[in-house]
């Protein structure tokens, strides 16, 4: 059971690339072990899930929670940019990221 959920180094490296996090070989090795432990721990849940328990994305049986289409208050530009590590004019400044819009 636990073996089938383990992450190998290749998968960790792939995830790191998707998340745009640079990892060293040592870090990848270390994380493969740590993440596998976490995944295996979470996988225990599926051991108690019997076929009569339907899959759910939410613990509360609610649906159709909506808000009326009424515009409210926005942040000011200063508030919006207050947490920005860098800004240029009234825009967030980010380092050029390789890749394209999704």
């Amino acid at each position: 059971m636990s073996e089938s959920h383990s992450l190998d180094s290749e998968q960790v490296a792939h995830l790191a690339e998707l998340a745009r996090i640079a990892l060293t070989e040592d870090e990848i090795k270390k994380l493969s072990g740590e993440l596998s432990v976490i995944i295996d721990a979470i996988a225990k849940v599926s051991e108690v899930a019997t076929p009569d328990v339907p899959a759910t994305s939410h613990p509360i049986a609610l649906q159709n929670v909506f808000r009326p289409d009424v515009p409210g208050k926005t942040l000011t530009v200063e508030q919006a940019l207050s947490g920005a590590p860098e800004r240029e004019g009234d825009r967030f400044k980010v380092s050029a990221i390789l890749g394209e819009e999704q």
Binding site: L18, L81, F92, E100, E101, Q102
Partner: protein
């Protein structure tokens, strides 16, 4: 773009390969507020102007700030269901939002809220008509709801694109704008009409969302965006080719051109023994070419999972029935009704349909222009300018502006010639027709005394012509009319000038 792109002659490409198409059309809904937050929506009629200033239409939800939670906009759900129904889709009794995870700063959360395996609408059909009257049925796979992303400006690159840029600037006004993405099934059998089918399909979607009133649908502003998938299957092989997805296609004209270009490009590569790379390609309006973007990643790279911050959407049968009952008439019925109401000949009406300006003309008539005048302006002068500039006519002026212009002509305040100058001014962004008339001083001289003074002077200057007119040679008046129009800098009604010339010639006897 330094690459040399080899193209095969289009007819030859169709002879050797069967084109297979697929489209993803994104529609920005024009709700007053955003999809998951109460920030005003820059894609609404009210929000467009305010969106010019960056980061002025954002809330903590748009910025993905810690502790902020999304709540679904009810109107966006209603609009999405209406659109699904108009596309002939089934509406899912239960649908869910999902997180599409990717790391790119156009969304601050590192994921986009979208729908994955449980879209709100699925399995529909749209009927489209080509210029020659043939019709095609396009099968719709699904229509799902999601949020739009922010806008990035790349700085430092020579072309304003990501390659070579030092850094990028982000405006999150557009982040969270409600979108519906409409995905077709594979479209085969279009043969040489593939580019035309592409255009007609996007035009049909545009007509549907305009008739529903759920989007501003201005392609040049990105309210309606098309990604075109194209692949080629060698004839007789029975095998599907590798597809490319061309993004960034922002006008009906470009949709047609981009599909044609991809067919010719892929055919040249395949015929030369090469292979097609499955990738995203970018359309360049200026060069009429596509260029390679990123290789297409596999769907599970996005690590979709159900959005835990949102609850399932389960529209009641009553709501669906209510929205179904409120749907506008189907396009074919509508065309028949309009043709009769406007009293156009078959030829005139086909002209309107082929120009993709039916909605604009309908709205212009609704705004008070006569059907004949609306048709004349849109398919005439406006289409001519659009064609010369390589843009869609609908992007140049609004129906309300055309109606106003047409009314100024009807009331005699403008001649056709002056009206064309006013139109130029409106297109150049100088304001409404009335404002352009004011600013450019283009009003018709309707003051008879000014005209009479000019006429009397012209007659006195050319006594020989005066004699001819008196002698019954009415056509001689043309020289005087011409002179007076010149004096008035064209700002007089020629018919009125003619009347007055004949009157004055008589009275000076």
């Amino acid at each position: 773009m330094s690459e040399q792109t080899e193209l095969m002659d289009f007819d030859k490409a169709i002879e050797l390969f069967e084109p297979v198409l697929g489209f993803e059309v994104h529609v920005e809904l024009n709700t007053k507020s955003k999809m998951f937050s109460d920030a005003p929506n820059p894609a609404s009629a009210e929000g467009e102007a305010a969106a010019q200033e960056p980061n002025t239409m954002v809330t903590p939800v748009c910025l993905g700030l810690p502790g902020s939670l999304p709540v679904v906009n009810e109107q966006a759900i209603r609009f999405s269901i209406s659109l699904g129904l108009a596309l002939g889709c089934e509406i899912a009794p239960s649908s869910r939002f999902a997180r599409k995870n990717y790391f790119y700063p156009d969304l601050a959360k590192n994921y986009q809220i979208s729908q994955y395996d449980e879209p709100i609408a699925h399995d529909g059909e749209v009927s489209i008509e080509l210029a020659d009257g043939r019709s095609f049925r396009i099968q719709i796979e699904r229509a799902h709801m999601e949020e739009d992303a922010g806008k990035l400006t790349h700085v430092g690159g020579s072309t304003g694109r990501i390659q070579g840029a030092d850094h990028s600037l982000v405006d999150y006004n557009r982040a969270g704008v409600p979108l519906v993405e409409i995905v077709t099934k594979m479209i085969t059998g279009t043969e040489g009409s593939a580019p035309e089918v592409a255009r007609a399909y996007v035009s049909a979607i545009r007509d549907i969302v305009l008739a529903l009133g759920i989007s501003q649908a201005r392609m040049e502003r990105g309210n309606l965006r098309c990604d075109a998938n194209v692949s080629l299957s060698p004839r007789g092989s029975g095998k599907l080719g590798t597809r490319t997805e061309t993004k960034n296609v922002n006008s009906l004209r470009s949709v047609e051109r981009a599909v044609r270009f991809e067919i010719q490009r892929q055919a040249a590569i395949l015929h030369g023994g090469g292979t097609i790379v499955q990738e995203t390609r970018h359309w360049h309006e200026d060069t009429g070419m596509t260029s390679p973007g990123r290789p297409k990643s596999d769907a599970d790279d996005y690590r979709y999972f159900p959005e835990p911050d949102l609850l399932p959407v389960e529209p009641s049968k009553e709501l669906i029935d209510e929205l179904r009952a409120a749907l506008p008439e189907p396009p074919a019925v509508r065309r028949k009704r309009l043709k009769e109401a406007w009293g156009f000949t078959d030829l005139e009406f086909q002209d309107v349909v082929n120009s993709d300006l039916l909605v604009e003309i309908e709205q212009t008539v609704a705004a008070g222009a006569t059907p004949a005048a609306a048709r004349k302006w849109w398919t005439g002068e406006i289409a001519r300018i659009a064609n010369a500039d390589g843009v869609d006519a609908a992007s140049l002026v609004t129906p309300a502006q055309v109606a106003e212009l047409s009314k100024l002509v009807d009331s005699g305040e403008l001649t056709d010639r002056l009206a064309r100058q006013v139109l130029e001014g409106v297109i150049a962004g100088e304001g409404s027709p009335a404002e352009v008339v004011q600013k450019r001083g283009l009003k018709v001289v309707s003051d008879d005394s000014a005209l009479i003074a000019a006429i009397d002077k012209a007659l006195a200057d050319q006594p020989d012509i005066l004699e001819k007119i008196r002698g019954g040679k009415v056509q001689a008046a043309g020289a005087i009319i011409g002179e007076v129009m010149k004096q008035m800098r064209g700002q007089a009604d020629a018919a009125r000038v003619r009347e007055l010339v004949l009157e004055r010639a008589e009275s000076l006897r």
